[in-house]
Symmetry: C2
Subunit: 382 residues, 2 copies
């Protein structure tokens, strides 16, 4: 039947085995994964219903609760990158017409706006210049005005390097029956987070930043309150892949097949979480803080300034002002191609104005800072 | 501020480094990835906008066109497992109210029905007992009746082991302005596919079967006709993560950031595709066919029967009838725990009636067959 059709070789490439340059990834992510994590990914796969794999999923769930400091039973890894986990929070809880209030002070606030709209939300926003954060008063006023079903805030704005304080926000939300949704993509593992203490109902993150894993399996958690909203929906979740009612039957005791998990990434995530647990969460947070302070001092010592006020700076990601007369893109390219160091450029309001320097997970080490400063000195002619 | 909260160690586990049993995965997937592929995943990550990574994405695109036998410019890997790529086909092309006709002869046909409904489709179905396929006449009549915007067929029904012939279906579709959407999850790399010859407009697959990769980065392709439907949409795609207009700007020449790709999985996928290209597509198909015929003969030699008529059997996945009086689950469990061999059970109509045996990618070798038959003989007491 098909044997009469001849094979078209137009797109046939004869390639050599994979070889990639060895970069130090000090941009906004991905960061270099811990070597132990990469080694674990080179392990023969198990089936997604193998008892040995199900046990590994339980370990991931438990350790995600630990790093997020939550008791939420529904704490899992989504089979996609952080953006998929972000989408999962909205897809499951937004019903058409729900008022969703979003704090926008950077690129990822805007992404939440776009996503929420796609799920039929009546989106309201409050905004701040990129690099600033919202005060508790500003949040309180906005909640009073909009009485939203969901308030979404970005804990660690990857585009600006600012840390949004969250203490007491959850309490305010409870006054209005509002669910609190938080982006912890650039904070999980590197910045103190106490989800339950803060009354956070929905959170998502990624694997390749504070956790020091490779990207592709992304932490997701929802509180019992958020689960109740999901269970009361009148319409199916408009996203089969990320439907937490279906996924809960796979991650929970029923073990009903939903989709084939990215097995080897889960190996990596399990190892990354094991390493954080072995270090201890408090030590891990302190290491990130100590190394970023060394970075800030070192950058200042060569005449560079930070974009965000010190009090609100993230330990994981720093926005560094590009000096007058310097072409930030040219510098970043030189760092990459001449020194094998990746730093990020600015997005949106900060395009052309800052470099974004990440010190996350395995890369949060003094050696990373020293190597960057040495290279910057050469490139900037300091 | 946060220093007064003490860390809760309830969910802290102190784990040993990862160790997993070494299984031969002869179920419906995942299959064992090629050792070279796993080794490639243990390579330090690049940034998702690094020129070296963008070049690797180009290689993936080209080789996906080769294995699918298509010229579609929009041929990419989705950052999720096969189910995400499946969802991407519907999310991008279904607009609320569109008539979507789906051929249901197994579990994955049903999944398409569920998914399409979530995107607002007016879903119509034709159905067959599980294990059978639709004739061209049946398809033609259904097209005439429903005049759908999209016809979705499962080329390789993973739940039944049946291969749906597709020659001439695309021509019929063109008479009604219908887009042809095809599930090639269990066929890509292992079963002859000629997407362009067959007039297929949308297809998806996975990495962990015929391609011999690890799961998590999944092939997706759409024709120019399908792209036109996407471009003419009146509403945004109700799925940000899988929006092909946004993804096209990352995979295309603009290189605009969309999400952080699962870097190390792309390394693996590139290597898996490189190995298929080195073997040659025709050789790869022939190897799958030859080894499955050896499997069928071997199974028959120990008195077992196949569920699907020979003409429509897949070379990648075989459904084997469980003999009267045998508990299929007990046998599968013994194979797994005593012989380290995974086979799958039946789903839906075939639950308790068949085992599903995959010979895909790296696992399509005579040694896999020999090991399975030896173990089956012991377990069944033959």
């Amino acid at each position: 039947m098909t044997s009469t059709i001849s094979i078209n070789d137009n797109h046939l490439l004869k390639l050599a085995p994979l070889e990639v340059p060895n970069r130090l990834l000090l941009g906004p992510g991905p960061s270099n994964a811990h070597p132990t994590v990469l080694q674990a990914m080179n392990t023969t796969p198990l089936g997604h219903l193998d008892p040995a794999f199900l046990a590994l999923m339980d370990e991931i769930q438990s350790l995600l609760r630990y790093v997020w400091q939550t008791e939420n039973p529904h704490t899992i890894a989504v089979s996609g990158t952080g953006t998929a986990a972000m989408e999962a929070t909205l897809a499951n809880t937004v019903e058409p017409g729900d008022v969703v209030l979003i704090g926008v002070a950077g690129y990822f606030g805007n992404r939440l706006v776009d996503m929420a709209g796609r799920y039929g939300a009546d989106v309201r926003t409050i905004s701040k210049p990129w690099g600033q954060v919202f005060s508790l008063d500003e949040i309180s006023t906005a909640l009073e005005t909009h009485k939203p079903a969901i308030l979404a805030l970005v804990h660690a704005e990857t585009s600006t390097g600012a840390r949004q304080p969250l203490a007491e926000v959850g309490e305010l939300c409870r006054k209005y029956g509002t669910l609190l949704l938080v982006d912890t993509v650039t904070s999980l593992g590197g910045v103190p987070i106490f989800l339950d203490e803060w009354g956070v109902d929905l959170a998502y993150s990624c694997s390749q930043k504070g956790l020091g894993c490779s990207p592709g399996a992304s932490p997701f958690t929802m509180s019992t309150r958020a689960m109740e909203k999901l269970q009361k929906r009148e319409t199916k979740v408009a996203n089969w892949y990320l439907d937490m009612l279906l996924l809960g039957k796979y991650w929970g005791s029923e073990r009903i097949y939903h989709h084939t998990a990215p097995i080897n990434l889960y190996y990596g995530l399990r190892e990354a979480l094991r390493l954080v647990a072995a270090e201890g969460l408090a030590n891990c947070w302190q290491r990130h803080q100590k190394n970023v302070e060394y970075l800030w001092e070192s950058l200042e010592s060569i005449g560079l300034k930070m974009h965000v006020e010190k009090e609100y700076r993230l330990p994981t990601l720093t926005t560094v002002c590009i000096p007058e007369g310097v072409d930030g893109k040219v510098v970043a390219r030189q760092l990459l191609l001449e020194h094998n160091i990746e730093v990020g450029g600015g997005l949106g309001e900060l395009a052309g104005k800052v470099w974004r320097v990440g010190l996350m997970g395995f890369n949060s080490r003094p050696e990373s800072v020293d190597r960057l400063i040495e290279a910057l000195k050469q490139v900037l002619g300091k």
